[in-house]
């Protein structure tokens, strides 16, 4: 059921989100129609279609968003103000050394996709993920484990990857596993629940990543100019450090200060660092670089993780309480910075009017 607040069109998307600086370049509105396009990380309404009730507006993670109605609220599930709704949290890692060494931390996403594609072998499964086009992150479609290995690794950039989903929905018939940032998981959930997008039932599984902010592509322009890099092999943001890159020009490390300048403005209004609306949310453990944190948020997510575990692609372990506390603290701090402002960076509270207000208020109380 579409709420009244979401019955708006591209003019409002342009004014309230893009021009206001809140676009996080998820790409969900891009390529749905001929009017909205993206170039690198820039999304623009080329011309208004003249309609005032559009899918473009309602899928946007920066228009009215009601987390509770989009979450998988079940009795056996936990909901807290820091991590959202989930069944359980586990430590996980890929068993195949090739995968775990290529992937980020424990290589769980890569292993999950490998397992999922294998499982859907006869149903035409594909994965939408983010690789590189030169040095710029670019969405691509993975059809086999080779494709997936080629796109493995976090990018930390605001790639409008869901434009690729819109194209895949238009052109094919495959079931699609999407790997994306929390904002992209939100867009997908809104697309599935509210939109009239044809083929949306083909969105098979949403693997959300932990993300505390994404970087504008202007950082790549700088890297290209300053270090003459042509290719990025791997990116990481170690705890309390800036961006660390393995490139064709060797290892390049930016300080946190340098890196922060390139944070996408829209990310400052994000209160969802752990992909609360994904089926599975995956991120680092911040302690153990050989393992990943996996938050199981839906039955479908749980099922696909179990299959990967049963087939021996992934091994899991109990999530220690110490890690859980640290994760909750990190997530809560991110939310606090948004709702209350960041005293360290001397930034004020950010406009979160896109969130359903009662919920936002409740979360604040919960955190206090």
């Amino acid at each position: 059921m579409v709420v009244e607040e979401l019955k708006k069109g591209p003019e409002q998307l342009k004014n309230e989100v893009i021009n206001a600086g809140w676009c996080v370049s998820c790409g969900a509105c891009v390529e749905m129609c001929p009017y909205i396009k993206a170039e690198k990380d820039k999304v623009a309404v080329i011309q208004s279609c003249g309609l005032n009730d559009g899918n473009c507006y309602l899928v946007c993670p920066r228009t009215y968003t009601d987390y509770s109605s989009l979450s998988n609220l079940k009795e056996e599930y936990t909901t807290d103000g820091a991590l959202g709704t989930y069944k359980t949290i586990v430590k996980a890692r890929a068993t195949d050394h090739r995968i775990s060494s290529a992937g980020q931390y424990g290589g769980v996403v890569t292993a999950l996709l490998t397992s999922r594609l294998k499982e859907l072998e006869h149903q035409d499964g594909i994965a939408l993920l983010t690789g590189y086009d030169g040095i710029y992150p670019q969405w691509n479609i993975g059809r086999d484990s080779e494709d997936i290995i080629n796109s493995t690794g976090s990018k930390y950039a605001v790639c409008p990857g869901l434009s690729g989903l819109n194209q895949a929905l238009r052109n094919g018939s495959e079931r699609i596993t999407v790997v994306g940032r929390p904002c992209q998981a939100v867009a997908l959930r809104k697309m599935i629940n509210y939109s009239t997008v044809e083929g949306k039932e083909r969105i098979d599984l949403i693997i959300g990543l932990f993300c505390f902010w994404g970087l504008d592509y202007s950082i790549y322009d700088l890297l290209k100019k300053k270090y003459k890099i042509q290719r990025i092999d791997k990116a990481d943001i170690p705890k309390d450090a800036g961006l660390s890159l393995q490139t064709d020009q060797g290892n390049i490390t930016l300080t946190l200060e340098e890196t922060r300048q390139f944070i996408r403005t829209g990310c400052y209004s994000c209160v969802d660092p752990t992909s609360e609306l994904a089926d599975l949310a995956v991120g680092s453990t911040e302690q153990d670089p050989g393992w990943c944190t996996v938050i199981i948020r839906t039955e479908k997510g749980e099922e696909s993780l179990n299959i990967a575990v049963d087939s021996g692609l992934i091994e899991i372990d109990q999530y220690p309480d110490s890690l859980r506390t640290a994760l909750m603290e990190a997530a809560a701090n991110k939310k606090k910075r948004v709702f209350l402002g960041d005293p360290d960076q001397e930034t004020p509270a950010v406009n979160t009017s896109y969130l359903k207000l009662a919920e936002a208020a409740a979360k604040m109380i919960e955190m206090e």
Binding site: E31, M32, C33, P34, Y35, K37, A38, E39, K40, K42, V43, A44, V45, I46, Q47, C49, G50, L51, G54, N55, C56, R170, N171, E198, D221
Partner: protein, 636 residues
């Protein structure tokens, strides 16, 4: 038809063909031109005959080069003709204002096509002022037959006066068709031409006196010219002075109002220098002088000053200045016609309005609702449509509110809905990139917007090269986009230096635009505009660069391409969602290809007659509902 050597035969020809015929009857040897409406078919008619009648013909890169080349042939003793449109004479004027000093040898005739009402021009220009400024003889034909006669005579006159003669032919003479009795075409003697050791063609100030002398000689010749004709009573109280087709309108209007017994009509065919004595003879005794002429009050002002100097009484002038002679939109705007002339006359004589027909606005009211509204549109499959959409997309994505400058060509429609209102400037040929040289320096004054200039391929050679050189030399920040449809499309597919074919159909060197701009040191990219995503990417990329950049958007004009190979696209009705699609009928209403309309159930329909198969709509359709006919899209 125009080369038929059957003297005495009566034929029908267009004014342009008749002028070409006049040149042939005068034994023309050399013809140069830059295509421009309304005079384009004069040169085209001659170029078709090059072997038959041994006329050298060329499409020159621009009008000044055309006139210089024609003048050289004249210096060598050949009869030569140079043809252009009104704006072209402005381009050629620098040379014109110096050519009048040394004068010419072989007959040199310039035909300038003026376009009152701007049917196929961006502006209304009265070229007669150039004749006055350059002190050169000027002829103005009223009819098709007279146009032929004037061209033939102009060669003799040019040789007699030893200077070039300008013929101003307006659209209604160029494009009208009329009767003509053919005269013979001389057999040309083939002889070698040479430049003698004493020949000098110099423009130096002391020769100014010669220019005056030739002008006076021309005036004397004009006093006797049969192209000037007075009809009506002797010593009429009221005399009309008119030139060009207006003289015919005046003639007809006088009969319509039964004023022909009382009012004199002095039709002038030689309008600069004015035949002073002839004019004084017919106007001295009149008290009311009415002037009918198109565009500017050229005769009005010059005759007013003539009578102020030589007349012996007070005259009342009824012309543009007094507002008596006026088109629907005001004096000096648009064309005249018999109705307008008759109305003006009736006003001057206090007679009831003789015109029974409704005027334009009434006609429009009567037709309202019964005719579909038609917007200015680019042709089906026109690569400019894709180019403009790509430019618009790239600018929106860029977000800095870049500006696009333009000039004259089919792509002038970029200033309208057809080109998504992109063009912010529209002036003479080459002015887009010229202006970009200025806008491209304004970053010094805080301007943050990217500057783009579009130009056609023919325009690139015509007028853009000095501006590009300037941009490189002075490091202006702009992106020059050449909308290369590989032909001079707007004037009817004339070749240009990039095409590889000459005006007369022979193989020619093809000068590649990218070779020139690369040699200038400009980063140059080439893209097919119909490949929209690639093109948007390249423009986005080039917009990040400082200094001048060049993007050539190359795709053959759809109207020439379709003659070679034709694909057909059709709409899969099952896939097209019609008005329930979020695209809101994008293909027919926004992208607005004239081949696509809205059919049953608001679904898109592609006309198999109009579609040229460019495929751009198929790339843009969000449902993938537009398919190439023989590639899975076949409808049985």
């Amino acid at each position: 038809m125009i080369s038929l050597n059957e003297p005495g035969r009566k034929v029908i020809m267009s004014g342009n063909e008749a002028m070409a015929r006049g040149a042939l009857e005068a034994g023309v040897d050399f013809c140069t031109s830059y295509p421009g409406s309304p005079s384009v078919e004069i040169a085209e008619s001659l170029f078709k005959l090059k072997t038959e009648k041994k006329v050298y013909g060329e499409w020159s890169t621009n009008e000044i080069v055309a006139l210089e080349a024609a003048a050289a042939a004249s210096f060598a003793g050949l009869r030569s003709i140079c043809i252009m449109k009104q704006n072209g004479l402005a381009v050629a004027s620098d040379f014109l204002l110096s050519l009048n000093h040394p004068g010419t040898r072989g007959g040199l005739v310039i035909i300038v096509g003026d376009d009152p009402g701007a049917h196929s021009s961006i502006n209304e220009v009265d070229s007669r002022h150039f004749a006055r400024q350059a002190e050169l003889p000027l002829l103005e034909p009223s009819s098709v037959a007279e146009a032929r006669d004037m061209v033939r005579w102009a060669f003799e006159l040019s040789e007699e006066l030893e200077t070039c003669v300008i013929i101003r032919a307006v659209t209604r003479v160029c494009h009208a068709r009329g009767n003509l009795v053919l005269e013979s075409i001389p057999d040309k003697l083939v002889q070698d031409v040479r430049i003698e050791p004493w020949d000098r063609f110099l423009c130096i100030a002391p020769m100014h006196g010669m220019v005056h002398m030739r002008q006076e000689k021309a005036r004397k010749a004009f006093e006797e010219s049969l192209f000037n004709l007075y009809t009506g009573p002797e010593h009429a109280e009221t005399v009309i002075v008119s030139s060009g087709p207006s003289a015919l309108y005046a003639h007809e209007a006088l009969y319509l109002l039964s004023l022909n017994e009382n009012v004199g009509l002095l039709k002038l065919g030689t309008t600069w220098p004015l035949p002073r004595d002839l004019i004084l003879e017919h106007l001295q005794h009149a008290s009311k002088i009415i002037l009918f002429e198109e565009t500017d009050p050229f005769l009005e002002q010059n005759i007013t000053s003539l009578l102020a100097q030589f007349g012996d009484k007070k005259y009342a002038f009824y012309g543009q200045a007094s507002g008596y002679v006026s088109g629907d939109n005001g004096p000096g705007l648009g064309e005249l016609n018999v109705d307008l002339v008759a109305r003006s006359l009736a006003k001057a004589f206090d007679l009831p309005d003789p015109v029974k027909l409704p005027d334009t606005s009434q006609v429009n009211d009567l037709l309202k609702g019964s005719l579909p509204e038609r917007e200015m549109a680019l042709c089906a499959g026109c690569p400019h449509r894709s180019s403009f959409w790509a430019i618009k997309s790239a600018l929106e994505l860029d977000g800095r509110k870049g500006i696009v400058l333009g000039d004259i060509g089919c792509y002038t429609l970029g200033a309208s809905k057809a080109g998504f209102w992109l063009l912010r400037s529209l002036m003479c040929m080459g002015s887009g990139v010229g202006l970009a040289n200025g806008f491209g320096q304004l970053h010094r004054f805080g301007m943050k917007q990217p500057v783009l200039a579009v130009m056609g391929d023919s325009t690139f050679f015509h007028a853009c090269l000095p501006a590009l050189v300037n941009g490189v030399y002075n490091r202006a920040n702009f992106l020059a986009i050449v909308l290369d449809n590989s032909i001079t499309a707007m004037t009817g597919f004339q070749p240009h230096p990039g095409v590889g074919v000459s005006a007369t159909g022979e193989m020619a060197s093809s000068i590649k635009i990218e070779d020139i701009t690369t040699a200038m040191g400009i980063r140059t990219e080439v893209s097919d505009p119909h490949l929209l995503n690639d093109t948007i990417k390249i423009i986005s990329d080039l917009l990040q660069e400082a200094g001048p950049g060049v993007l050539i958007l190359r795709k053959e004009c759809a109207l020439t391409a379709v003659k070679k190979e034709r694909k057909l696209y059709i709409v899969n009705e099952k896939l097209c969602a019609g008005s329930s699609c979020g695209c809101n009928n994008f293909c027919s209403t926004v992208f607005a290809c004239p081949a696509i309309s809205i059919g049953a159930d608001s679904k898109a329909v592609i006309s198999d007659v109009i579609c040229t198969g460019c495929g751009a709509c198929a790339l843009l359709c969000p449902k993938g509902a537009i398919l190439e006919a023989n590639k899975g899209g076949a409808v049985s």
